[in-house]
């Protein structure tokens, strides 16, 4: 059965997972384990997993690693200087690598392990609020297996003084990094969080879940920078509950891994705004799946979604964007757009925008394009003296750069530009 080896392995590692003394958490994990035990990892027969094959997870048993060894010089190239940071090494919080000295008194950032010791009751009423094991079996897997993570809380009206970077780092071959993060912004609080996923070895499995609970009029900007190693298996889900008038801006840069799946789901209360931007760039045999869901539950919500994909060689990209407008959600204003560039005949993209509208007074649109570079544009650049390869790189870079341009954090933007230019060597625009 899919996932059987993991279930066998679980009995041995359960004792090492945090929260053994918390009956509610044991119940939470047991329930998740049962769900996972029924069918293991999601399979292609499930509609939401039609395009993404997780069989690699069954071929190797990815197991937790206690190692905290990191080459700091290597890691520093991904660090943002003007940010606080939490570093999770092989799924475990590293106090020595994290930098949390710049936080104001009313903002708390701690490891999940620490939070389970310090305020278990507070966690009990929040963990599992934005997503449950019923979502799909990778969430169930995370619910049962998470070993650590970050808990962020900003009190009402507080702002994080600096962006907070969460560095997910894997340094051991075939390691499992299962992390659970919770971001709670109380009323009118604001934060900017950057998640960076990197690995110094080739093969490993990241399974990370974020739950974000946004109070009324709160604002969260969350960047996901997925630069996982070439053979890494990556699952990263972000599940958001947006209070009235809250704002959630997500930027998903999926540039790495062998296989990656992102979930970005948000539930919007009255007049909440949700903006989802994404760029996925894949080549060789990479597979990058992006699954978004925007639930307009109440009136006057606004959502803007814009995803771009660039696929080369035999790479495959998936965009599944679902917008649901509930019967109550009158005056919803929603736009969804997905544009894809295929650079080779063997590259593939499966794009599936879905609008489900149950209200009658709404403004909703969606659009999808799949195309190649325009030959007339390539020729135009050649006629100005640029060779064909440079012309193609410039045009591809320009296509992708539109998403990087939306990044407001200058340091992060520079880092992303560098990553793009490595893939499409052109003089920086």
């Amino acid at each position: 059965m899919s996932g059987a080896a993991y279930l066998t392995d679980y009995s041995g590692l359960a004792a090492s997972l945090p929260g053994l003394d918390l009956p509610w958490l044991q119940g939470f994990r047991q329930q998740a384990l049962q769900v996972f035990g029924v069918s293991g990892f999601p399979g292609n027969r499930e509609e939401e997993w039609r395009y993404t094959n997780l069989s690699a997870l069954n071929k190797t048993l990815f197991a937790p690693s206690a190692s905290q060894t990191v080459d700091e010089d290597w890691l520093n190239q991904y660090r943002l200087d003007d940010a606080s940071s939490v570093v999770l090494v092989n799924g475990q919080f590293s106090a020595s690598l994290s930098r949390l000295q710049d936080l104001s008194g009313q903002v708390s950032v701690s490891s999940l392990k620490q939070a389970l010791q310090d305020r278990p009751a507070w966690l009990e009423s929040r963990l599992g609020q934005a997503v449950t094991s019923a979502e799909h079996n990778l969430v169930a897997f995370n619910n049962a297996w998470f070993a650590d993570g970050v808990v962020i809380e900003a009190a009402a009206n507080q702002q994080l003084a600096k962006p907070l970077q969460i560095l997910h780092v894997v340094t051991q071959t075939d390691a499992l990094s299962a992390t659970r993060n919770l971001v709670v912004l109380n009323e009118q609080a604001e934060a900017e969080v950057i998640e960076t996923f990197v690995g110094s070895v080739d093969s490993y499995f990241t399974a990370s879940v974020n739950e974000c609970l946004l109070g009324n009029n709160a604002g969260l900007t969350l960047y996901k920078v997925q630069l996982e190693a070439e053979k890494a298996q990556h699952f990263g889900g972000t599940y958001v509950k947006q209070g009235r008038d809250s704002r959630f801006n997500h930027h998903n840069f999926a540039l790495g891994s062998g296989l990656a799946r992102s979930d970005i789901h948000s539930d919007l209360d009255t007049a909440a705004e949700c903006s989802l931007n994404g760029l996925f760039v894949a080549s060789k045999r990479q597979h990058i799946d992006n699954h978004t869901r925007i639930n307009h539950l109440k009136p006057h919500g606004i959502s803007r979604e814009f995803y771009k994909g660039v696929l080369d060689n035999k790479a495959r990209g998936v965009f599944q964007g679902r917008v649901v407008v509930a019967e109550d959600a009158q005056r919803t204003d929603s736009e969804m757009n997905n544009r894809n560039l295929l650079l080779s005949a063997d590259a593939e993209v499966d794009t599936k925008p879905q609008l489900e509208i149950y209200a009658d007074d709404v403004k909703c649109s969606h659009g999808v394009t799949v195309g190649q570079l325009e030959e007339k544009s390539v020729f135009y650049l050649q006629s100005r003296g640029l060779d064909e390869e440079a012309a193609r790189n410039i045009l591809t870079f320009a296509f992708a750069n539109e998403m990087v341009d939306k990044v407001e954090n200058a340091e992060l933007k520079a880092l992303l530009l560098k990553e793009l230019l490595e893939r499409f060597p052109a003089i920086s625009l």
Partner: protein, 249 residues
Amino acid sequence: MLSIKNLHVTINDKPILKGLTLDINPGEVHAIMGPNGAGKSTLSHVLSGKAGYTVTEGSVMYNGKDLLELAPEIRAREGVFLAFQYPVEIPGVSNIYLLKAALNAMRKHQGLPEVDAMDFLTIVKSKVKLLQMDEKFLYRAVNEGFSGGEKKRNEILQAAILEPKLCILDETDSGLDIDALRIVSEGVNSLRNAERSFLMITHYQRLLDYIKPDVVHVLADGKIVKSGGPELALELEERGYSWLEGQAA
């Protein structure tokens, strides 16, 4: 500088140019006029190296080199510039970026170092002024959202910065109002010198009031059917092309 001999070109096996011969010396301005479908744009495309055209016969020598053997970008670096009839919009690539990349590609080809950033800006700004363009155009995406006249001006701006040896203007006057035509023509005239040659393709005699050609050719049915001085353009204006088309047969 440019010597086209008995050029035959087909598109999808359909003959378009049928034995075109043309010689342009350094510093000369040649105008090519002719009815629609005569092969005017095909000539400009073949000279600049656009794909989709098959040369079945004839030769094109440019400064002692077989032009048809060169990749489009090498032709450009060797000094052949095509001002497009329909300039292409390139979203996400700024004008100034393209100008700099193009200039440096050319300089590299000539064994020169990359242009200094400050010098480059000085050059560009002076040319922008010459073409009475707003400096903001430099930072906008290439031709994106430009009006027809702005696109044509932008082509001449590129020529002014790249300083080609042979400048092919493919219907640069089409779609321009009289003010824009004057500005574009002044830009072109400022580029004229004893070394630089021009091949102007146009429908309209009006352009030649602003840019005085040395030679006017009539292209009909894939061949040059008549050549003469500027007075030929006036005659064409009066009489049309029909009296010449018979001669191509």
